[in-house]
Amino acid sequence: MKLDISINGVARSLEVAPRTSLADLLRSPEVRCPSVHLGCEHGVCGACTVLIDGRMARSCIALAVSLDGSEVTTLEGLESDPMTLSLKASFHRNHGLQCGFCTPAMLIAARETLQSNPGRNADDIRLAMSGNLCRCTGYAGIVEAILDVARGEPGTEMGAST
């Protein structure tokens, strides 16, 4: 089926089978968004989280055909997003990643978590991030990294545009 979709700000016209997930489309040779990672492929691990029309969603359980006319953003599309840059720096500083498999989705989930409510404490962050699994870090570094940005710690300035 024909699909018109915006991916990271670029309008694309693609041919997809109805059963193609958004995740598989994003990882396909035609689209090439390697930040989208597939772990469980049934909506549990959160590694495939992207933005659909500006809101985070699991791309492994979104059918590409159902998103005709939508705007999809992956981490590749957030390269100059101030909040994402702050979170990346803070994850680095706080050991918020090890193997990196969960990290792109963690950044996307953390971004929406802070944007919807910047004043979150550690418990709120744990709850908000509970849909993203990490098998390396034990989460402490991830929570600390997000808290650092929430607190506006030095080195995590988000810039005037956010």
């Binding site: 997930s21 909506g43 699991r58 159902s66």
Partner: protein, 274 residues
């Protein structure tokens, strides 16, 4: 974890969606948010020859308010309740419950109607909608009909919906200012399917006094004795609670019984709290 092949149509009206379901001869399924259906397709747990996507049908995205009721299109997403983008006839209870359904990434896509139509025994919405005395509007090949919660939900994954029916809206009466509500779920990991859900609503003005229990792999039940007790809470709730659970055959497993009791007592505690 890839689904088998299927066809896909996106009708623009409820009428066309019903026609597509009839033409599908029992092998077509409705998809809205897809947050339960697509995992099942990925795991190949369900044979589907055609998906009928209703997520964008305007009638299913509408919210209609009258002085006494609010009717929610079945395609309203959990996050819209959570964010307060739609009004809450239960003074914040729907918002509170929505905000703890699965994870935000799921809530951004999943819909209240999809949850009700699937009737997962662990669903958060189902016991709440029964307790709020919601009315369900169903459109099918023979026209429109309405039913109550107990008539809608027959058991786990079993509802009043026929294979060519669509749940189009859910109507809820506005609770009075003096109404009190309680909701409690017990869950081992944040965002997972709950092990037990309890919901209690008491509104004298609307003559609602209802306590509902939902739990994994069991039908939701209305606790009649406890509901009666809630209307006039004299003495402790324990004997009413025990009578209901005994009647429903839920006293066999000590652990399940303890979970059910704990959730129910907490939910009714939120109602009776002075």
């Amino acid at each position: 974890m890839k689904p088998a092949e299927f066809d896909y149509v996106r009708p623009e009206t409820v009428e066309d969606a019903v026609k597509a379901l009839v033409a599908g001869n029992g092998q077509a399924r409705i998809i809205a948010g897809g947050q339960s259906l697509v995992p099942m397709l990925n795991l190949r747990l369900m044979p589907v020859s055609q998906l009928v996507d209703v997520a964008r049908i305007p009638a299913l995205r509408a919210v209609t308010e009258t002085e006494t009721d609010i009717s929610f299109g079945a395609g309203i997403r959990h996050a819209e309740f959570e964010d307060g983008s739609v009004p809450d006839p239960a003074h914040g209870l729907m918002r509170r419950v929505a905000s703890r359904i699965a994870y935000r990434a799921i809530r951004n896509r999943g819909t209240i109607g999809g949850s009700a139509a699937l009737a997962d025994p662990s669903a958060d919405w189902v016991p709440l909608l029964i307790a709020l005395d919601a009315r369900f509007r169903i459109e099918g090949p023979n026209g429109m009909r309405e039913c109550s919660g107990p008539a809608m939900f027959h058991g786990p994954y079993t509802t009043a919906l026929g294979e060519s029916d669509i749940l189009t809206s859910i109507s809820i009466r506005r609770l009075s200012a003096k109404a009190r509500t309680g909701f409690e779920k017990i869950i081992r990991k944040a965002g997972e399917y709950p092990m037990v859900v309890a919901c209690a609503v008491r509104d004298e003005a609307l003559a609602i006094s209802r306590v509902v229990l939902g739990a994994a792999n069991r039908p939701q039940i209305v606790l009649e004795h406890l509901s009666y007790w809630l209307a006039d809470p004299k003495g402790g709730p324990e004997s009413a609670l025990h009578a209901d659970l005994e009647q429903a055959g839920r006293t066999g497993d000590a652990y399940e019984l303890a979970l059910a009791k704990a959730a129910l007592l907490r939910a009714i505690g939120q109602v009776t709290l002075a």
